[in-house]
Subunit: 159 residues, 2 copies
């Protein structure tokens, strides 16, 4: 996979920074983040199914989705602070199993030459301990698997 | 003023931590944060007047207010991620003059003996530079003046 997810965990600052390139334009990668049916197809690791409860990807809108694995359920929710098509999403993100430990997630979508694009993410946590808990929960492999599915969905839609 | 604002700026972490005690219960201090007319009376430094554009203090609600000083206008906006009456507010906060540099603000309201309470705030910024910009803009004196006004409003409403 040439478009691998790259994650950076700064020492001492409660951030997760990441980039992921795609063989598709920023508008299409952005679209997969704001369309609920598409989002449910790719978000998270392969073993989980995603059910969307609420997904109103507009400034001031809310979202909530539930990931299931057998009888286990993992619910996530947040609000969209800013949405600029094909360019920028700023949203909160909370795993309900870790209440009140929300992050603030900045997603920038940048076009590259040859119809490619780059997603640049910056997630800000309320403490270093919270950041490290998310990292040790297997977040990076789940993100990587999700973006691989996203790229496959775009390939399929293009084919 | 015995109930002075205390602000802590951790070295190297993009946080502003603060506490402020009040001679009134948590429910009343919380109420002054979610009622738009009351909020407009106390938020910010004395020299600014506040006009509320939007203020829907519920989980998933939005707010926007404009502070004016003569012909100058300063607009602020955000979304409420969590609201638990008399206990907790989790919201985003953006000064529109510094776009996309939103913070995530955690406000905890705690009752103390003798009908007093404590507000514990934790604001998380997307970078240390953003945090320091807010600090150098006179944020602390503006917050202190605002909480003094809030306490006076509660005293007036009680008298």
């Amino acid at each position: 996979m040439t478009n691998a997810l790259e994650v950076t965990l700064p020492d001492g600052a409660p951030f997760i920074d990441y980039t992921r390139e795609f063989d598709y334009p920023a508008a299409r990668v952005f679209g997969a983040h704001v369309d609920p049916d598409t989002y449910a197809e790719w978000i998270g690791p392969d073993r989980l199914d995603t059910r969307i409860d609420v997904f109103d990807a507009v400034p001031g809108g809310s979202y909530r989705f539930v990931q299931t694995e057998g009888t286990e359920e993992y619910a996530f929710r947040g609000v969209f602070h800013s949405i600029r098509p094909a360019e920028f999403i700023l949203q909160t993100f909370e795993y309900e199993g870790f209440p009140d430990q929300a992050s603030l997630d900045f997603l920038r979508f940048e076009d590259l030459p040859d119809g490619r694009s780059r997603l640049v993410g910056h997630s800000v946590y309320p403490s270093l301990e919270t950041r490290d808990s998310f990292v040790s929960s297997g977040m990076e492999s789940g993100m990587a698997a999700g973006y691989d599915k996203l790229e496959q969905l775009l390939a399929f839609a293009t084919a």
